[in-house]
Symmetry: C2
Subunit: 189 residues, 2 copies
């Protein structure tokens, strides 16, 4: 039943989009997505604001999912680290690059994640400074459980080939954005 609600909401939003109408007359009684995008050009800041919001939303969702699974020892940020590690075995440096993290930051997370048994860490053979990092059994299980829960939402968003393509495009654009912003911070404007 919650499901129907959700579905309905998505539908509504879409029709809203199709007419390219905007804001304040947003949608069904329940939701109110407020935007200041008037048909024309999306500015960087609007985009950034949206990204920020979406990110917040996802974090909340993740927190809830984790609650359901009874995961209380780590937070959303740590879980994201787990996902960033993925299925491979990598060094801390790789992890930093992959997630654009700060060194001290990751170290801090890793410490907890290792202590709590979500991650295996062994010193590299050929360079004993370097650590090789990978998900433990427990880590894998958590990720898998979350991925499963996540599929539900994915199906709400991507219902056909068209939407899948849209998603792909958006993904690609985000990466472009990441690149632009990364270069900007590195080499100045």
């Amino acid at each position: 039943m919650t499901r129907e609600l959700l579905q309905a909401a998505v539908e509504v939003e879409e029709s809203d989009n199709n007419t390219l109408s905007n804001n304040n007359l947003a949608s069904a009684s329940v939701i109110t997505v407020v935007t200041e995008h008037d048909g024309g050009h999306v500015t960087h800041f609007e985009l950034a604001r949206t990204i920020e919001r979406v990110n917040r939303r996802f974090t909340d969702l993740l927190r809830i999912e984790m609650g359901k699974l009874g995961v209380g020892d780590i937070g959303p940020a740590q879980v994201m680290v787990l996902f960033t590690i993925g299925n491979g075995e990598l060094s801390v440096r790789d992890l930093l690059d992959k997630g654009h993290y700060l060194g001290s930051n990751v170290s801090y997370y890793l410490k907890q994640l290792v202590d709590l048994g979500y991650i295996d860490r062994v010193a590299s053979q050929r360079d004993r400074r370097s650590a090789r990092i990978s998900l433990s059994q427990k880590g894998h299980e958590l990720c898998q459980a979350l991925r499963t829960a996540d599929d539900t939402y994915h199906r709400l968003l991507v219902r056909d080939e068209d939407e899948s393509r849209e998603l792909d495009n958006a993904y690609r654009l985000l990466q472009k954005l990441e690149l632009v912003w990364t270069n900007a911070t590195r080499y100045g404007a």
Copy 2:
């Protein structure tokens, strides 16, 4: 070379074995990106990870821009609140909805922003509980300065009609995503 950075970002996810030790050398040449993404499916988590990363990147950029402007009294988050307020005059509740913020959260920011003179706040006439909030002169100036700096990046990303449309699409998709995730947190999975 820039290409490699991006490519790495794309591929790393599924790849089990990454040798991307060289992305730090990405040249200053800014974009020339064409990333062919193998028709692979972008999962929610990949998307979320990207959003998180991009968000981090933007925050950094903002921080730098602010540094250049000599703004040291507030942080990126507060600036985002300023942008969320925009040019209108609104209530705290409106602001909450617009930015998906938490009440206490915004209160905390507003307090600083008012104290530091970035925002004007007056009690509403017809409902004295409610505050009417808007950017002060100072607030407007800061936003304007940042917007100007920002245009540079915008031009790097959007160079023709096509790219503008892409951006629009991505923006729309993000909003859809926001909706799905918002509903999910509100009404459960």
